[in-house]
């Protein structure tokens, strides 16, 4: 690693944690009596190689990308926004509740735009309390965003069961949005156009962070707060802006997922994407393009993993173990990197 050219070294730094995690995880599978090679092969095949699976993988990428975009903003500002689950779900429920209500009176395009914006707004609002507590009082945002997340998940359920409930169904869920009213499909695939929104968001965030004054200000804040104050940046406003932008993007992800795929939100539904996207974003070193590539990989893992849960008896929660291993190996490799002797 010390003598490789820079781009190759970067690639190794990204691939190595994944490879190590797969290896150690595979070893654990072996211990539990499952064949890891068969498992990984199955996942790969179902996730990427079959056209149906590939489309599902790509569809799954949309919410992940939007959450990743939101997290990039927060992490660059040095803010630990760990409340993505709550922000995501509340926005999804909002969109799911609003869209059917508007669909009767407004044209499809307006309904979709309004519902997407509503989702983003709700996500942003839900982050306001932790953001203000952090900006004003320096209160640790890890705790506040986590608490708001738990609250948000419960609140979503309450909204579904009490307020937005579709009386016609046995399982509590919101009134379903008919397929014609949802986000249009791309060409003749099953992938919806929300994917384009998501891709645009990630690339947009990347450019925002690297090429604008706002992005530079955010990065100064995230790297050295004292320097930000010294440079005359309005720290409180930056924190609020970064936080709300982050949560708005995550909320947009929730709205996109509902309006593009499900059309409804069932009670007790919580995909908990946050746990997957956080390590993904770190692995990508907060770089937008790397995020897109890695999201493809993780989405394939999830799609294939779901299939594997049914066919091979390895539950979906195994992916969580892999994620944790990736994080640990990532941190380890960063550490080994830092230990290299520096240029004097």
């Amino acid at each position: 690693m010390m003598t490789l050219p820079a781009p190759l070294a970067m690639a190794v730094r990204v691939v190595a944690p994944i490879a190590l995690a797969l290896a150690v995880g595979g070893f654990a599978l072996e211990l539990l009596g499952k064949n890891p090679i068969a498992y990984y092969g199955f996942v790969l095949e179902r996730g990427l190689l079959r056209p149906g699976g590939l489309q599902e993988t790509v569809t799954r990428m949309a919410p992940l990308l939007l959450i990743a975009a939101g997290l990039i903003v927060a992490f660059r500002a040095g803010m630990w926004n760990l409340g993505s689950d709550g922000q995501f779900l509340l926005a999804a429920v909002t969109a799911a509740g609003l869209a059917p209500a508007l669909a009767d009176t407004l044209p499809r395009a307006l309904v979709l735009v309004a519902s997407l914006l509503a989702g983003a707004l709700v996500g942003a609002l839900w982050s306001l309390t932790p953001a203000i507590l952090k900006a004003r009082f320096g209160l640790n945002e890890i705790i506040t965003t986590l608490m708001m997340s738990f609250l948000g998940v419960s609140l979503s359920n309450v909204l579904i069961k009490l307020l937005l409930r579709d009386p016609g169904t046995t399982v509590p869920q919101t009134r379903s949005l008919p397929v014609e009213e949802r986000l249009p499909r791309l060409f003749d695939t099953t992938v919806h156009s929300g994917l384009l929104i998501a891709l645009a968001a990630v690339i947009g965030v990347h450019l925002l962070m690297t090429r604008t004054a706002f992005g530079l200000r955010v990065q100064v804040l995230g790297t050295n707060r004292a320097a930000a104050v010294h440079a005359g940046l309005e720290v409180e406003r930056l924190i609020l802006a970064a936080f709300t932008l982050s949560a708005a993007l995550i909320g947009l992800g929730g709205a996109v997922e509902v309006l593009g795929v499900w059309g409804t939100v069932r009670a007790d539904w919580n995909p908990a994407y946050g746990a997957l996207v956080v390590p993904l974003v770190f692995l990508a070193r907060l770089n937008g393009y790397a995020v897109i590539a890695l999201t493809l990989f993780f989405a394939a893992l999830m799609t294939g993993g779901e299939s594997a849960a049914r066919r091979m008896g390895v539950p979906q929660n195994y992916v969580l173990v892999l994620v944790a291993l990736v994080l640990m190996f990532l941190a380890l490799i960063e550490y080994l990197d830092r230990r290299r002797p520096r240029i004097a």
């Binding site: 539990l32 009596g33 630990w80 760990l82 309390t129 507590l133 004003r136 009082f137 209160l139 640790n140 890890i142 705790i143 506040t144 986590l146 608490m147 708001m148 738990f150 609250l151 419960s154 609140l155 359920n157 309450v158 069961k161 009490l162 746990a275 956080v278 390590p279 770190f282 539950p315 929660n317 195994y318 992916v319 969580l320 173990v321 892999l322 994620v323 944790a324 291993l325 994080l327 640990m328 990532l330 941190a331 380890l332 960063e334 550490y335």
Partner: protein
């Protein structure tokens, strides 16, 4: 409304509060030790889960509750070992590793549970209860407060013991120095990393114990993800208690009451949707955080690894 003041309701509420508050108390005390020493332990949720699982397994296989609690505590310590090696010894980012431990343990325990218990979902017998001699006869309070597993009484005693340890032993002094000014501790000849390692292991022990209590006594069964944020509430308790174990106890009682309201209300015949009541503890947390925002204090060296020579 009068249904609320009946003996069954109050007993259920208070007893339930104790049962619900115990894991929070243990997690909070454990986290307090780490935080004092300057280690931010986000992975405590994962440590509790591993403790819940191992505690359950040991009790199930051996039939002994005492061994089960011990097994849970050791399970928590095992999980904290990851933090010890990666964060204390190697100095990796405490928050990233904390997330990894939580997520990893969530995955690991649910995986193990799937392979071992998802077919029969075995339940444990009720844990043995130790009714205190005179106090146990008091109406309402006797059954509610003084008829619990021995571990409950031990935990309350632990609060007093920890208060003394923090103030009057060398270890307490070392912890404070490790969190406030680790360079001063180093210069005084004490191994900073070893102090922090001991703190982390203690946290693992206590939170594992808390998790074990949750699965053995609280539920009698292990369910994946069963801690449901208890570890994070423990972090909040430690943050707000500012180094005083007694305040952790008070906070745990407060949250225990709000958590126990569901079952108590059901006993009283009032039907409130579970989700609303589940929101209650987190709403209380947020209100407390907002009101006391100015007063929460964290040690300056929190979260930063210590390297000698770097003053």
């Amino acid at each position: 409304m009068s249904a609320l003041l009946t003996e069954p309701f109050l007993t259920a509420l208070i007893a339930g509060a104790v049962t619900a508050g115990m894991p929070l108390l243990l997690a909070g005390l454990g986290e307090q030790i780490s935080e004092k020493a300057g280690v931010l332990n986000i992975g405590i949720e994962g440590m509790m889960l591993l403790g819940a699982y191992t505690g359950f397994v040991v009790t199930y296989t051996t039939g002994s509750f005492a061994l089960g609690f011990l097994g849970g505590a050791l399970g928590g310590m095992l999980a904290s070992l990851i933090v010890l090696v990666l964060c204390i010894r190697l100095g990796l980012n405490q928050i990233v590793i904390g997330i990894a431990v939580t997520v990893g343990m969530q995955g690991l325990t649910s995986l193990l549970h799937y392979f071992e218990f998802s077919r029969e979902y075995p339940r444990l017998a009720a844990a043995p209860v130790w009714v205190l001699p005179v106090l146990g006869q008091i109406p309402v309070l006797g059954k509610a407060l003084f008829s619990h597993t021995a571990l409950v009484y031990a935990s309350v005693v632990l609060v007093a013991v920890l208060t003394w340890v923090f103030r009057a032993t060398h270890w307490g002094l070392d912890l404070e120095a490790a969190g406030q000014r680790p360079a001063a501790l180093d210069a005084a000849g004490v191994d900073v990393l070893r102090t922090r390692a001991a703190a982390v292991l203690s946290t693992g022990f206590l939170s594992g114990l808390g998790g074990a209590y949750l699965s053995i006594v609280g539920a009698g069964i292990f369910v994946p993800f069963m801690t449901g944020g208890a570890g994070f509430i423990g972090i909040v308790l430690a943050m707000l208690a500012r180094g005083r174990p007694l305040w952790v106890l008070l906070g745990a009682i407060l949250f225990g009451v709000s958590l126990a309201l569901t079952t108590a209300l059901q006993v009283a015949g009032i039907d409130v949707p579970t989700d609303v009541v589940q929101m209650l503890p987190f709403v209380v947390v947020m209100i407390v955080l907002v009101v006391f925002a100015r007063h929460s204090m964290l040690p300056p060296a929190l979260g930063s690894p210590y390297t000698r020579g770097e003053r």
